[in-house]
Protein backbone atom coordinates (compact mmCIF):
# COMPACT_ATOMS: atom_id res chain seq x y z
CA UNK A 1 0.00 0.00 0.00
CA UNK A 2 2.74 2.41 1.04
CA UNK A 3 4.67 1.33 -2.05
CA UNK A 4 1.74 2.13 -4.32
CA UNK A 5 1.40 5.54 -2.73
CA UNK A 6 5.09 6.13 -3.21
CA UNK A 7 4.90 5.25 -6.90
CA UNK A 8 1.82 7.42 -7.33
CA UNK A 9 3.60 10.27 -5.57
CA UNK A 10 6.64 9.92 -7.81
CA UNK A 11 4.48 9.89 -10.92
CA UNK A 12 2.73 13.06 -9.74
CA UNK A 13 6.02 14.80 -9.04
CA UNK A 14 7.43 13.91 -12.46
CA UNK A 15 4.24 14.86 -14.27
CA UNK A 16 3.99 18.24 -12.60
CA UNK A 17 7.66 19.09 -13.07
CA UNK A 18 7.36 18.10 -16.75
CA UNK A 19 4.40 20.47 -17.12
CA UNK A 20 6.30 23.27 -15.38
CA UNK A 21 9.30 22.66 -17.66
CA UNK A 22 7.08 22.95 -20.74
CA UNK A 23 5.78 26.35 -19.65
CA UNK A 24 9.21 27.52 -18.54
CA UNK A 25 10.74 26.40 -21.85
CA UNK A 26 9.02 29.30 -23.62
CA UNK A 27 10.66 32.32 -22.08
CA UNK A 28 9.68 34.70 -24.86
CA UNK A 29 8.10 37.91 -23.70
CA UNK A 30 5.76 40.35 -25.35
CA UNK A 31 6.42 44.04 -24.72
CA UNK A 32 3.12 43.90 -22.84
CA UNK A 33 4.75 41.98 -19.98
CA UNK A 34 7.53 44.53 -19.60
CA UNK A 35 5.41 47.64 -19.35
CA UNK A 36 3.83 49.04 -16.20
CA UNK A 37 0.50 47.93 -14.84
CA UNK A 38 -1.15 51.23 -15.77
CA UNK A 39 -0.28 50.75 -19.44
CA UNK A 40 -1.38 47.11 -19.36
CA UNK A 41 -4.74 48.24 -18.02
CA UNK A 42 -4.95 50.91 -20.72
CA UNK A 43 -4.39 48.28 -23.40
CA UNK A 44 -6.84 45.82 -21.87
CA UNK A 45 -9.68 48.29 -21.42
CA UNK A 46 -11.31 48.99 -24.78
CA UNK A 47 -12.74 52.26 -23.49
CA UNK A 48 -9.25 53.46 -22.43
CA UNK A 49 -7.13 52.03 -25.27
CA UNK A 50 -6.54 54.90 -27.73
CA UNK A 51 -5.96 52.34 -30.49
CA UNK A 52 -9.64 51.38 -30.29
CA UNK A 53 -10.58 54.77 -31.77
CA UNK A 54 -8.70 53.72 -34.90
CA UNK A 55 -10.37 50.31 -34.86
CA UNK A 56 -13.74 52.10 -34.79
CA UNK A 57 -12.69 54.36 -37.65
CA UNK A 58 -11.53 51.25 -39.50
CA UNK A 59 -14.93 49.63 -39.11
CA UNK A 60 -16.54 52.67 -40.72
CA UNK A 61 -14.02 52.67 -43.58
CA UNK A 62 -14.61 48.94 -44.06
CA UNK A 63 -18.20 49.67 -45.04
CA UNK A 64 -17.54 52.82 -47.05
CA UNK A 65 -17.57 52.54 -50.88
CA UNK A 66 -14.49 54.09 -52.52
CA UNK A 67 -12.71 54.31 -55.86
CA UNK A 68 -13.90 54.11 -59.46
CA UNK A 69 -15.63 50.81 -58.66
CA UNK A 70 -17.47 52.46 -55.77
CA UNK A 71 -17.02 49.28 -53.72
CA UNK A 72 -16.43 48.91 -50.02
CA UNK A 73 -14.31 46.21 -48.37
CA UNK A 74 -17.55 44.76 -47.01
CA UNK A 75 -19.01 44.42 -50.52
CA UNK A 76 -16.51 41.65 -51.25
CA UNK A 77 -15.42 40.43 -47.82
CA UNK A 78 -18.69 40.71 -45.88
CA UNK A 79 -18.44 40.93 -42.11
CA UNK A 80 -14.82 41.34 -41.03
CA UNK A 81 -15.54 39.46 -37.80
CA UNK A 82 -15.74 36.25 -39.84
CA UNK A 83 -13.82 36.94 -43.07
CA UNK A 84 -10.81 38.62 -41.41
CA UNK A 85 -10.61 36.39 -38.35
CA UNK A 86 -7.05 35.01 -38.16
CA UNK A 87 -5.85 36.80 -41.29
CA UNK A 88 -3.40 39.12 -39.50
CA UNK A 89 -1.77 36.18 -37.69
CA UNK A 90 -0.54 34.96 -41.11
CA UNK A 91 1.00 38.17 -42.48
CA UNK A 92 3.26 39.05 -44.28
CA UNK A 93 2.05 36.64 -46.96
CA UNK A 94 2.15 36.23 -50.72
CA UNK A 95 -1.07 37.37 -52.38
CA UNK A 96 -2.57 35.01 -54.95
CA UNK A 97 -0.78 35.39 -58.27
CA UNK A 98 2.00 37.53 -56.77
CA UNK A 99 5.66 36.62 -56.53
CA UNK A 100 6.71 38.36 -53.38
CA UNK A 101 5.27 38.78 -49.90
CA UNK A 102 3.44 41.90 -48.77
CA UNK A 103 2.59 43.15 -45.31
CA UNK A 104 -0.98 43.79 -44.25
CA UNK A 105 -0.91 47.43 -45.35
CA UNK A 106 0.48 46.32 -48.70
CA UNK A 107 -2.39 43.84 -49.02
CA UNK A 108 -4.98 46.50 -48.24
CA UNK A 109 -3.44 48.76 -50.87
CA UNK A 110 -3.47 45.93 -53.42
CA UNK A 111 -7.18 45.53 -52.82
CA UNK A 112 -7.69 49.25 -53.24
CA UNK A 113 -5.74 49.37 -56.50
CA UNK A 114 -7.10 46.18 -58.08
CA UNK A 115 -10.63 45.76 -56.77
CA UNK A 116 -11.77 49.21 -55.72
CA UNK A 117 -9.78 51.11 -58.34
CA UNK A 118 -8.87 53.60 -55.66
CA UNK A 119 -5.57 55.35 -54.94
CA UNK A 120 -3.06 53.56 -52.78
CA UNK A 121 -2.79 55.11 -49.33
CA UNK A 122 0.70 56.25 -48.26
CA UNK A 123 2.45 54.54 -45.32
CA UNK A 124 1.25 55.69 -41.91
CA UNK A 125 -1.76 57.35 -43.49
CA UNK A 126 -4.49 57.52 -40.84
CA UNK A 127 -7.11 55.63 -42.88
CA UNK A 128 -4.64 52.93 -43.85
CA UNK A 129 -3.61 52.44 -40.21
CA UNK A 130 -7.25 52.38 -39.16
CA UNK A 131 -8.13 49.70 -41.72
CA UNK A 132 -5.07 47.70 -40.75
CA UNK A 133 -5.94 48.00 -37.05
CA UNK A 134 -9.53 46.97 -37.75
CA UNK A 135 -8.48 43.91 -39.75
CA UNK A 136 -5.80 42.86 -37.25
CA UNK A 137 -8.17 43.42 -34.33
CA UNK A 138 -10.34 40.57 -35.66
CA UNK A 139 -7.46 38.23 -34.70
CA UNK A 140 -6.88 39.61 -31.22
CA UNK A 141 -5.95 36.79 -28.84
CA UNK A 142 -5.17 34.34 -31.64
CA UNK A 143 -1.67 32.82 -31.87
CA UNK A 144 0.64 34.26 -34.51
CA UNK A 145 0.90 31.64 -37.29
CA UNK A 146 3.37 32.57 -40.05
CA UNK A 147 3.01 30.88 -43.45
CA UNK A 148 5.89 29.00 -45.10
CA UNK A 149 7.13 28.28 -48.60
CA UNK A 150 10.31 28.66 -50.66
CA UNK A 151 9.78 32.36 -51.43
CA UNK A 152 8.63 33.27 -47.93
CA UNK A 153 11.49 31.34 -46.38
CA UNK A 154 14.01 33.14 -48.59
CA UNK A 155 12.63 36.54 -47.59
CA UNK A 156 12.56 35.45 -43.94
CA UNK A 157 16.22 34.43 -44.17
CA UNK A 158 17.02 37.82 -45.69
CA UNK A 159 15.20 39.43 -42.76
CA UNK A 160 17.24 37.45 -40.25
CA UNK A 161 20.41 38.51 -42.08
CA UNK A 162 19.44 42.16 -41.71
CA UNK A 163 18.54 41.58 -38.06
CA UNK A 164 21.98 40.17 -37.28
CA UNK A 165 24.14 42.54 -39.36
CA UNK A 166 25.75 45.57 -37.78
CA UNK A 167 24.93 48.85 -39.47
CA UNK A 168 24.92 52.61 -39.06
CA UNK A 169 27.40 55.01 -37.54
CA UNK A 170 26.86 53.33 -34.15
CA UNK A 171 27.67 49.96 -35.76
CA UNK A 172 24.90 48.05 -34.00
CA UNK A 173 22.68 45.19 -35.13
CA UNK A 174 19.09 44.58 -34.06
CA UNK A 175 20.30 41.41 -32.32
CA UNK A 176 22.83 43.24 -30.13
CA UNK A 177 20.04 45.12 -28.35
CA UNK A 178 16.94 42.97 -28.80
CA UNK A 179 18.55 39.55 -28.21
CA UNK A 180 21.80 40.03 -26.31
CA UNK A 181 20.63 42.91 -24.12
CA UNK A 182 16.84 42.53 -24.05
CA UNK A 183 15.38 43.46 -20.68
CA UNK A 184 18.30 45.73 -19.85
CA UNK A 185 17.80 49.46 -19.89
CA UNK A 186 18.60 51.72 -22.83
CA UNK A 187 18.24 55.32 -21.68
CA UNK A 188 16.26 54.08 -18.70
CA UNK A 189 13.75 52.04 -20.73
CA UNK A 190 13.68 48.24 -20.91
CA UNK A 191 14.69 46.90 -24.33
CA UNK A 192 11.92 44.67 -25.71
CA UNK A 193 12.53 41.26 -27.29
CA UNK A 194 11.44 42.27 -30.78
CA UNK A 195 8.17 40.38 -30.88
CA UNK A 196 5.79 42.46 -33.00
CA UNK A 197 2.64 41.16 -31.32
CA UNK A 198 0.35 44.16 -31.47
CA UNK A 199 0.81 46.27 -34.62
CA UNK A 200 -0.34 48.77 -35.49
CA UNK A 201 0.42 49.97 -31.96
CA UNK A 202 -0.52 53.09 -30.05
CA UNK A 203 2.85 54.33 -28.83
CA UNK A 204 2.82 56.99 -26.13
CA UNK A 205 6.12 58.37 -27.43
CA UNK A 206 4.38 59.01 -30.77
CA UNK A 207 1.04 60.05 -29.30
CA UNK A 208 -0.33 58.18 -32.30
CA UNK A 209 -1.04 54.82 -33.84
CA UNK A 210 1.88 53.63 -35.94
CA UNK A 211 3.09 50.73 -38.02
CA UNK A 212 5.93 48.27 -37.48
CA UNK A 213 7.69 50.01 -40.35
CA UNK A 214 7.63 53.27 -38.41
CA UNK A 215 9.01 51.48 -35.37
CA UNK A 216 11.81 49.89 -37.42
CA UNK A 217 12.68 53.27 -38.90
CA UNK A 218 12.92 54.71 -35.37
CA UNK A 219 15.61 52.16 -34.54
CA UNK A 220 17.44 52.78 -37.84
CA UNK A 221 17.53 56.51 -37.12
CA UNK A 222 18.71 55.74 -33.59
CA UNK A 223 21.74 53.80 -34.78
CA UNK A 224 22.29 56.39 -37.53
CA UNK A 225 21.77 53.93 -40.35
CA UNK A 226 20.30 54.86 -43.70
CA UNK A 227 16.59 54.01 -43.52
CA UNK A 228 15.28 52.10 -46.55
CA UNK A 229 12.69 53.80 -48.73
CA UNK A 230 9.17 53.30 -47.38
CA UNK A 231 8.26 50.77 -50.06
CA UNK A 232 11.46 48.72 -49.68
CA UNK A 233 11.15 44.91 -49.47
CA UNK A 234 13.62 44.93 -46.56
CA UNK A 235 10.86 45.91 -44.14
CA UNK A 236 8.69 43.00 -45.26
CA UNK A 237 11.67 40.64 -44.96
CA UNK A 238 12.37 41.88 -41.42
CA UNK A 239 8.70 41.56 -40.47
CA UNK A 240 8.63 37.98 -41.75
CA UNK A 241 11.57 37.13 -39.52
CA UNK A 242 10.18 38.99 -36.50
CA UNK A 243 6.77 37.30 -36.82
CA UNK A 244 8.52 33.93 -36.93
CA UNK A 245 10.18 34.80 -33.59
CA UNK A 246 6.75 35.69 -32.23
CA UNK A 247 5.09 32.55 -33.60
CA UNK A 248 2.46 31.24 -31.20
CA UNK A 249 2.29 34.40 -29.08
CA UNK A 250 -1.19 35.95 -29.03
CA UNK A 251 -1.89 38.92 -31.30
CA UNK A 252 -2.73 42.03 -29.25
CA UNK A 253 -3.79 44.61 -31.84
CA UNK A 254 -4.22 47.40 -31.00
CA UNK A 255 -1.39 47.16 -28.48
CA UNK A 256 -0.33 50.12 -26.31
CA UNK A 257 3.38 50.71 -25.76
CA UNK A 258 5.45 53.37 -23.93
Amino acid sequence: MTRRLLVLGLVLVFASSWAVAQVAADKRRSGYQDMGEALQKMQDDDTANPGMLFVQLGSQLWAKPVGAENKSCADCHGAAATSMKGVATRYPAIPQGAERPVDLEGRINLCRAENQKADRLPPDNRDLLALEAYVAHQSRGMPIAPPYGPILDAFRAQGEGIYRRRQGQLNLSCAICHDDNAGKKLAGIAIPEAHPTGYPIYRLEWQALGSLKRRLRNCLVGIRAEAWPLDAPEYVALELYLMERAKGLPLETPAVRP
Binding site: Q169, L170, N171, C177, K184, K185, L186, A187, G188, I189
Partner: protein, 144 residues
Protein backbone atom coordinates in the same frame (compact mmCIF):
# COMPACT_ATOMS: atom_id res chain seq x y z
CA UNK B 1 41.15 80.37 -64.77
CA UNK B 2 39.73 81.49 -61.48
CA UNK B 3 38.02 78.11 -61.18
CA UNK B 4 41.33 76.39 -61.69
CA UNK B 5 42.90 78.38 -58.92
CA UNK B 6 40.01 77.53 -56.60
CA UNK B 7 40.28 73.85 -57.54
CA UNK B 8 44.00 73.88 -56.95
CA UNK B 9 43.48 75.50 -53.57
CA UNK B 10 40.84 72.91 -52.69
CA UNK B 11 43.14 70.09 -53.69
CA UNK B 12 45.84 71.47 -51.45
CA UNK B 13 43.49 72.27 -48.59
CA UNK B 14 41.33 69.13 -48.57
CA UNK B 15 43.79 66.47 -47.49
CA UNK B 16 44.91 68.66 -44.64
CA UNK B 17 41.38 69.53 -43.49
CA UNK B 18 39.90 66.04 -43.89
CA UNK B 19 42.89 64.06 -42.67
CA UNK B 20 41.97 62.62 -39.30
CA UNK B 21 44.70 62.39 -36.75
CA UNK B 22 46.03 58.85 -36.79
CA UNK B 23 46.09 57.70 -33.20
CA UNK B 24 49.20 55.77 -32.21
CA UNK B 25 48.26 52.64 -30.31
CA UNK B 26 50.77 51.34 -27.78
CA UNK B 27 49.73 48.04 -26.16
CA UNK B 28 46.19 48.64 -24.93
CA UNK B 29 46.26 52.40 -24.99
CA UNK B 30 46.73 55.57 -27.00
CA UNK B 31 49.17 57.46 -24.75
CA UNK B 32 49.24 60.73 -26.70
CA UNK B 33 46.47 63.29 -27.05
CA UNK B 34 44.78 63.28 -30.47
CA UNK B 35 45.09 67.05 -30.60
CA UNK B 36 48.46 67.37 -28.91
CA UNK B 37 46.71 69.26 -26.13
CA UNK B 38 44.88 68.18 -22.99
CA UNK B 39 41.08 68.20 -23.12
CA UNK B 40 38.66 70.18 -21.00
CA UNK B 41 36.93 68.09 -18.30
CA UNK B 42 33.92 70.41 -17.96
CA UNK B 43 33.22 70.26 -21.68
CA UNK B 44 33.75 66.51 -21.52
CA UNK B 45 31.14 66.16 -18.81
CA UNK B 46 28.64 68.03 -20.97
CA UNK B 47 29.40 65.75 -23.93
CA UNK B 48 28.93 62.64 -21.79
CA UNK B 49 25.62 63.96 -20.44
CA UNK B 50 24.29 64.96 -23.88
CA UNK B 51 22.08 62.22 -25.29
CA UNK B 52 22.56 63.27 -28.89
CA UNK B 53 26.29 64.07 -28.79
CA UNK B 54 28.15 61.68 -26.49
CA UNK B 55 25.25 59.22 -26.24
CA UNK B 56 27.17 57.68 -23.31
CA UNK B 57 24.28 57.61 -20.82
CA UNK B 58 22.05 55.69 -23.20
CA UNK B 59 24.06 52.56 -22.33
CA UNK B 60 26.18 53.53 -19.29
CA UNK B 61 25.17 55.03 -16.02
CA UNK B 62 27.40 57.73 -14.62
CA UNK B 63 27.80 59.95 -11.60
CA UNK B 64 25.86 62.77 -13.22
CA UNK B 65 23.02 63.64 -10.88
CA UNK B 66 20.04 65.20 -12.59
CA UNK B 67 20.40 63.04 -15.68
CA UNK B 68 17.51 60.64 -15.35
CA UNK B 69 16.95 57.64 -17.59
CA UNK B 70 20.48 56.28 -17.70
CA UNK B 71 21.32 52.93 -19.22
CA UNK B 72 22.52 49.69 -17.62
CA UNK B 73 23.73 47.83 -20.72
CA UNK B 74 27.37 48.78 -20.12
CA UNK B 75 29.44 49.28 -16.93
CA UNK B 76 28.96 52.43 -14.87
CA UNK B 77 31.35 55.24 -15.72
CA UNK B 78 31.84 55.86 -12.00
CA UNK B 79 35.42 54.98 -11.10
CA UNK B 80 36.52 54.79 -14.74
CA UNK B 81 39.42 57.09 -13.89
CA UNK B 82 40.77 54.68 -11.32
CA UNK B 83 40.18 51.54 -13.41
CA UNK B 84 41.96 52.84 -16.53
CA UNK B 85 44.78 55.19 -17.37
CA UNK B 86 44.23 58.21 -19.58
CA UNK B 87 45.69 56.36 -22.57
CA UNK B 88 43.58 53.26 -21.97
CA UNK B 89 40.44 55.40 -21.79
CA UNK B 90 41.43 57.13 -25.04
CA UNK B 91 41.73 53.85 -26.96
CA UNK B 92 38.42 52.61 -25.53
CA UNK B 93 36.69 55.71 -26.86
CA UNK B 94 38.55 55.92 -30.18
CA UNK B 95 37.97 52.28 -31.13
CA UNK B 96 37.15 49.69 -28.49
CA UNK B 97 37.05 46.98 -31.15
CA UNK B 98 40.85 47.05 -31.16
CA UNK B 99 40.64 45.40 -27.73
CA UNK B 100 37.51 43.31 -28.21
CA UNK B 101 36.28 42.61 -31.73
CA UNK B 102 32.77 41.84 -30.44
CA UNK B 103 32.37 44.97 -28.34
CA UNK B 104 29.03 46.72 -28.76
CA UNK B 105 30.55 50.08 -27.90
CA UNK B 106 30.66 52.28 -31.00
CA UNK B 107 34.07 53.48 -32.16
CA UNK B 108 33.95 57.24 -31.57
CA UNK B 109 36.89 58.12 -33.78
CA UNK B 110 36.74 55.78 -36.73
CA UNK B 111 34.91 55.96 -40.06
CA UNK B 112 35.97 52.77 -41.84
CA UNK B 113 34.44 49.32 -41.57
CA UNK B 114 30.89 50.68 -41.16
CA UNK B 115 27.88 49.72 -43.26
CA UNK B 116 24.79 51.63 -44.38
CA UNK B 117 25.67 54.77 -42.43
CA UNK B 118 22.97 57.45 -42.75
CA UNK B 119 23.93 60.02 -45.35
CA UNK B 120 24.08 62.83 -42.80
CA UNK B 121 26.81 60.99 -40.88
CA UNK B 122 28.73 59.39 -43.71
CA UNK B 123 32.50 59.77 -43.42
CA UNK B 124 32.14 61.54 -40.08
CA UNK B 125 33.47 60.35 -36.76
CA UNK B 126 31.05 60.23 -33.82
CA UNK B 127 33.15 62.78 -31.96
CA UNK B 128 35.87 65.14 -33.14
CA UNK B 129 39.44 64.76 -31.88
CA UNK B 130 38.83 67.71 -29.52
CA UNK B 131 35.66 66.14 -28.17
CA UNK B 132 37.42 62.80 -27.59
CA UNK B 133 40.07 64.64 -25.58
CA UNK B 134 37.41 66.49 -23.56
CA UNK B 135 35.68 63.21 -22.69
CA UNK B 136 39.00 61.59 -21.74
CA UNK B 137 39.79 64.59 -19.53
CA UNK B 138 36.44 64.18 -17.78
CA UNK B 139 36.63 60.40 -17.36
CA UNK B 140 40.06 60.49 -15.70
CA UNK B 141 38.50 62.66 -12.96
CA UNK B 142 36.00 59.88 -12.09
CA UNK B 143 38.05 58.25 -9.36
CA UNK B 144 35.26 56.81 -7.17
Amino acid sequence: MRILVVLALLLIACPIAAQPVTPQIVDDSIPRSLTGKPGDAARGRAIVANRSVGLCLLCHSGPIAGERFQGDIAPSLAGAGSRWTEGQLRLRIVDGSRLNADTIMPAYYRTDGLQRVARAFEGKTLLSAEQVEDVVAYLVTLKD
